[in-house]
């Protein structure tokens, strides 16, 4: 087996010619402290090879047309001069808390790693000997590299330090909540989570907080036959400016996968969702709401989704909403691929940008690639300003302008929030959004 460190140090070449991003890759790898790995060793070695072959993306890369990868390519994170803040989201809800500080599991701050129907370990401690997660770590990520390369996910498989490994065997009553805290102002964090839901199992996974000054997160989820997975992430990025996240999901027969993420501010954020629907009658929904206010720094938020239908009678739904203000950039790249034979697919995709002032922009590339004839696939994308008629209506009924805008923004986001099935979780997020919007309405 090749040694990861040795492989990483090699100068990458294609047919002997240096590529434009090669120096960046060498510098990026040199700045990392690469773990040798236990059960992940083979996956890390493989990742090292794959990363050398694909290189880091450049600004001319089609998949990076709207987002400049420079901040993710840089060898080190830029230190933040703003204080870290604790998120209080979901504080009222009974849940199993797992705390990560600068991307490392903090056992003292966390609940016991036990729960009915659950088997939890952490990557840093488990990565010595054999582990069930070896069947998943880096595997789903590798599958998600075709047809589009996602080098930062490969980098994560190669270099992730910690993360959580959750095996779900039954119905889990309490959600598992990953709470991220930042201590070091220049924390450059890489976490890699693996969640495997066995047949008929069910889990709700919550993620809140800021991982670090810069973060690179991978979540690999395997949803077996009849299992149900709910994922709700809130990236309150006021105090974590640069982040890239990948979700790689495999959805089995009659299984359900639902992911919702909320992003409020941040500087350079990219979330990639790669979902393979492999079993018949499965359902996969992915939704996100992003609110960007460019006045506190450059807001750039990119959602990139790739859903593959490889089975019959499956449903997929993508709902993406972005509210943009003060020179904020909202990006959506979404794709539905229907493979030959994936008959009776129902694929839906909507992306909408709400521009609250001049200078903000919404750039979208909603794609369909379809190789089966008995399908129903549609996508829609709209961009525009607040509806003046609706605003006028509210004001004529005595609602002050600021409040009317908050109401209209919340109603714009409603379709995305509706993707959260649990009322308590949804209401908690909605309340927080209302508060945040109201506090900023005057600006």
């Amino acid at each position: 087996m090749a040694d990861t460190a040795v492989l990483a140090a090699q100068t990458p070449t294609v047919e002997g010619k240096a590529r434009p991003g090669d120096a960046a890759l060498t510098a990026r790898l040199a700045a990392l402290d690469l773990p040798q790995g236990g059960f992940t060793r083979a996956a890390r070695a493989d990742a090292a090879e794959r990363l050398q072959a694909m290189g880091l993306p450049g600004a001319r890369d089609e998949y990076w047309r709207y987002t400049d990868p420079a901040a993710f390519n840089a060898p080190k994170a830029t230190a933040l001069d703003i204080p870290a803040r604790e998120s209080t989201l979901f504080a009222e809800i009974d849940r199993l808390k797992l705390v990560f500080v600068d991307g490392r599991f903090d056992a003292d701050a966390s609940d016991d790693l036990a729960g009915e129907g659950l088997e939890i370990s952490t990557l840093a401690t488990a990565d010595a000997g054999d582990h069930w997660a070896a069947a998943f770590y880096g595997k789903l990520e590798t599958e998600g590299q075709t047809p589009v390369k996602r080098p930062f996910a490969v980098l994560n498989t190669l270099a992730a330090v910690d993360g959580v490994l959750i095996r779900v065997t039954g119905q889990v009553a309490r959600p598992v909540h990953l709470i991220y805290r930042r201590a070091d102002a220049a924390a450059d964090v890489m976490v890699h989570h693996v969640v495997a839901l066995e047949e008929g199992a069910e889990l709700t996974l919550l993620e809140t907080g800021a991982l670090g000054a810069r973060s690179n997160a991978v979540l690999e989820v395997d949803v077996a036959k009849g299992a149900r997975f709910h994922h709700i992430a809130s990236k309150r990025a006021d105090d974590a400016k640069v982040g890239i996240g990948h979700i790689f999901a495999r959805v089995g027969e009659a299984a359900l996968f639902k992911s919702f993420s909320l992003a409020v501010n941040g500087e350079m954020m990219r979330n990639e969702g790669v979902i393979q629907i492999l079993g018949d009658d499965a359902v996969a929904h992915i939704a996100a709401a992003a609110l960007g206010d460019g006045s506190t720094g450059k807001f750039h938020h990119d959602d990139t989704v790739f859903i593959t239908h490889a089975a019959e009678r499956c449903e997929s739904r993508q709902v993406f909403k972005k509210v943009l203000k003060h020179g904020a950039n909202g990006i959506f790249q979404g794709k539905i691929l229907v493979k030959p034979g994936a008959q009776r697919t129902d694929g839906y995709q909507i992306s909408q940008g709400l521009l609250l002032d001049e200078g903000s922009q919404f750039l979208a590339k909603p794609e369909l690639e379809i190789y089966a004839d008995d399908v129903k696939c549609s996508h829609g994308s709209t961009t525009g300003a607040l509806d003046e008629t609706a605003l006028f209506y509210l004001r004529s009924r005595g609602v002050p302008r600021e409040q009317a805008i908050v109401l209209l923004v919340l109603s714009f986001l409603a379709d995305a929030l509706d993707e959260i099935e649990d009322d308590r979780l949804r209401d908690d997020i909605l309340g927080r959004l209302d508060e945040w919007l109201t506090s900023r309405a005057a600006s």
Partner: protein
């Protein structure tokens, strides 16, 4: 819009005719060739060939230089590979870049002097090069009102323009309609001013190649305030083997003018693929309007994907001044490979761009087509209606860009792309880019993909149609929005083409 729609109304019951046409026709009725003595430039492309083409056209020095500049640029460029089309590597040196009928060595002064064989070719294609009132072969045309039925034709055969009809009548109105080679000689000031101003020499690989080696094409100038008294049309015919056709069309609509322009094309059935790389540039000044309609029916290759035309076309209209308007309508049924994105640059305030497209791909055809709407001016408007139909083992992609620049305030775009799949071996894809950089503009994009509705098929079958007829009828309904945007002569042809292209795709 409303006024135009009335003009080109499609008659009731025409769907029935379409169905009958399907039964009566072979799968590609233009697949024959004309035996005629040809004169070729040596195979391949280099500076000498570029000079030779320029010499053959009796071009002035500046034109030769312009071509050479393009050629030098082309040599540094690489073929674009981003489209969803697969084809074997093209050997650009294994093509003839110039082929003309021997009889055209001395350019005929009038249509009477043109080689009868050439005239017969166009006659057989249903495009008689006679100054007659109506286009023969267009069924139903005799019922239409006399006005607006005259069509002036510029016929391009391989590398040269064979003749242009109604030139004198057009000249009376001040309209210049001639081959581009003639325009370079006769109207150099117009050509120099506008050539390459919409599609620059270095725009893309194929456009640059075209700039170097284009042999002929059409030139149109409509003077200020003139409504062109008849439809103008160019008919392109590729006849020679192993020969690429590189034509260039330049249309200038001066302030307040109007013209409707039609383009048709066919090629014989050949076993080897042939290259076609055209450039169309349209300049539209204040308050002027241009309608550009294409029925692209190049030989699509046989059922196994052998032969056919590789169609790499750059078409762009520049609405340069206020309230300029352009409307692209295309029916793409032919070609083995289609790579074509007729675009609109909406520079003038309140300018408008429209794009209506039907792209049909059957058997092994691959089409990657769409449009770009580039909104630069205030209060600009655009509309895209694209209907893609895939059958057999074909791949059909809509690729489009809508961009609203920060200064293009209060602009609107509406895009609708629908795809229809017939059979489970084909693919339909949508790749739209939507870029909105100001608040007051509104952009809406919708796309759907579906199969031919079983209920509709059942209804037709229950009324005694066989399955192919029923599919043709449903497909015609699916395309109706676009067909209605076509001038009448084309609408008829297009409807029957829709049926022909899908023949054999059922079951």
């Amino acid at each position: 819009m409303a006024a135009e729609l009335e003009e080109i109304e499609v008659r009731e019951g025409v769907d029935r005719e379409t169905v009958e046409t399907v039964q009566n026709m072979g799968s590609y009725k233009y697949g024959w060739d004309t035996e005629i003595e040809m004169e070729y430039a040596p195979k391949g492309v280099n500076e000498d060939i570029v000079r030779l083409i320029s010499t053959k056209n009796n071009e002035p020095e500046w034109m030769t230089e312009w071509r050479l500049q393009a050629f030098r640029r082309w040599q540094t460029m690489t073929e674009p590979k981003w489209a969803m089309v697969n084809y074997p590597e093209i050997d650009f040196q294994d093509q003839y870049y110039y082929a003309r009928p021997k009889s055209m060595e001395v350019k005929p002064k009038s249509l009477d002097e043109v080689d009868p064989k050439l005239l017969a070719t166009y006659e057989k294609l249903g495009i008689p090069l006679k100054e007659q009132m109506i286009l023969a072969g267009v069924e139903g045309a005799e019922d239409a009102p006399a006005e607006g039925r005259k069509v002036a034709v510029d016929a391009v055969f391989d590398s040269v323009s064979v003749g242009t009809t109604f030139k004198d009548e057009l000249a009376k109105a001040g309209v210049i309609f001639c081959s581009i080679s003639e325009a370079i000689r006769e109207h150099p000031e117009l050509v120099q001013k506008y050539l390459g101003s919409v599609v620059p020499q270095s725009d893309n690989f194929y456009a640059t190649l075209n700039s170097a080696v284009f042999s002929d094409g059409s030139f149109v100038y409509i003077p200020p305030g003139v409504r062109c008294p008849m439809e103008l049309s160019t008919y392109f015919r590729i006849n020679a083997e192993n020969t690429g056709q590189f034509e260039r069309t330049l249309i200038i609509a001066d302030k307040g003018s109007y013209v409707s322009y039609l383009e048709g094309c066919t090629a014989p059935k050949r076993d080897t693929a042939q290259l076609h790389a055209a450039v169309v540039e349209i300049v539209i000044l204040e308050d002027a309007e241009v309608k550009y309609s294409t029925v692209q029916n190049w030989f699509p290759g046989d059922e196994d994907g052998k032969g056919g035309i590789y169609n790499f076309v750059t078409k762009r209209a520049d609405c340069r001044e206020a309230r300029a308007k352009v409307m692209w309508t295309q029916v793409e049924t032919g070609s083995a490979i289609t790579w074509k994105y007729p675009s609109c640059i909406l520079r003038g305030e309140e300018s408008q761009g429209e794009f209506y497209s039907i792209a049909i791909a059957n058997n092994m055809q691959q089409a990657d087509t769409g449009t770009k709407m580039i909104h630069l001016g205030k209060n600009t408007r655009s509309r895209i209606v694209s209907k893609g139909i895939s059958a057999g083992k074909a791949q059909n992609t809509y690729r489009g860009l809508v961009t609203m620049h920060p200064r293009a305030t209060n602009s609107r775009n509406y895009t609708q792309c629908d795809s229809l799949l017939i059979g489970d071996q084909c693919g339909a894809h949508t790749v739209p880019y939507i870029e909105v950089k100001n608040t007051s503009s509104r952009v809406e994009h919708e796309a759907t993909t579906s199969k031919v509705d079983d209920d509709q098929l059942f209804y037709c079958r229950a009324r005694g149609m066989d399955e192919e007829e029923a599919v043709a009828l449903v497909v015609n309904g699916f395309c109706r929005e676009v067909l209605q945007a076509l001038p009448m002569e084309f609408a008829m042809e297009a409807q029957s083409l829709v049926a022909i292209s899908l023949e054999g795709s059922v079951g």
